[in-house]
Symmetry: C2
Subunit: 216 residues, 2 copies
């Protein structure tokens, strides 16, 4: 299928790739097997965003809350996240990882990505990964700072225009509370391993007729 | 219609009563006429929440962003908000107003409600009104505080379980970013002046089958 054109695309897109475990269960697999199936959709969404002219992409990897899950699951989503970041680093992207690095639950392999944004290829698409992220951790970094917005742990992540969530839940689950204040939120009932380009086209068709008011 | 019963109701419900101006336009009225039509739905929703066993209700009155609108509109939504707060103060509620009182855009009549929670009747339902509220104003109050959550301007408002929005927009528009991190969000295409009890029943039927994970 040819990529459709849109009158207006979001500058910054957020992705909440939920439903990996439910997908695994429905397919008779152990829950932790779902995360590996979520990797290819990540690469596919990244490439499509570049082709659609989206400038910045933020992917919800895993949170501090998520790491309270059974160890097999935690290891599986850590591994999937590391491989997606490393895979996208072989493409054309400027990558930043945002998350609490002062914890053994943060993968060593990603430490260099959390220090500063790293440019690969022409660095055309800015990609932020939230890895061992926590909303309270993020906001609390700003305590004692003169400016809340400039003090956030996620201060290098810009305002988000559109958030896409897979897996049917209509909630943000702690996803970047400050950058999401004005974001439109679009939810798919399909699970993330079922990602198809048509999801993105459907959401962008909806988004282009939304009235952007920024609260005004 | 008899009030249905639910296996589980949200403890704390948030309301975003949007679409007043669009309702007015569609009905051939000047935009500012929509706000008055949003008052009765407010009283009706309040009474219904009490009957359903909801413990806390937060209503998005108006924001600092909203006050940049034409003066006739600003005066109209201020008036409607004042009358709804005063009306609910004749019922059975414990009312708190949260918003920037250090501005002429905050209505004088509501100053006493912003100092501390005021109990009317038995004070059965806790009701929070956001009046001249701003998300950045709210969060910035916590700068310099040891605890982000305890430093918020809205620190007396608890975590929200379910947010209902009228008027079709799928976004939070700055509504209590911290209390909303784990909230489920349910959107009606109908405008707020078209509020019907069935909206609430529909949302609660959906909510009772949602999996509450608090990010875990």
């Amino acid at each position: 299928m040819e990529i459709p054109t849109f009158k207006r695309v979001p500058r910054h897109l957020g992705l909440i790739p939920d439903g990996n475990r439910r997908w695994a269960t429905r397919n008779g697999l152990p829950k932790e097997a779902g995360y590996e199936k979520g990797m290819n959709p990540g690469f596919e969404a990244f490439e499509l965003c570049g082709e659609l002219g989206i400038e910045e992409l933020t992917i919800y990897g895993y949170t501090q809350d998520n790491t309270k899950r059974p160890a097999a699951q935690t290891r599986a989503f850590q591994k999937a996240c590391v491989e997606v970041v490393q895979g996208i680093a072989r493409m054309d992207a400027a990558i930043l990882v945002v998350g609490n690095t002062e914890s053994p639950l943060f993968p060593e392999e990603l430490l260099s990505f959390a220090r500063e944004r790293r440019v690969f290829g022409k660095g055309s698409l800015r990609v932020n990964f939230l890895i061992n992220y926590g909303w309270l951790w993020d906001l609390s970094k700003a305590s004692g700072s003169h400016s809340l917005v400039n003090g956030l742990a996620s201060r290098e992540v810009s305002r988000i225009d559109l958030i896409l969530r897979w897996g049917g839940r209509r909630r943000l689950s702690g996803f970047l509370p400050v950058q999401s204040v004005y974001a439109d939120i679009f939810v798919f009932d399909d699970f993330w391993p079922e990602f198809r380009p048509e999801h993105l086209y459907e959401a962008l068709s909806w988004y282009e007729v939304q009235d952007v008011t920024l609260g005004g």
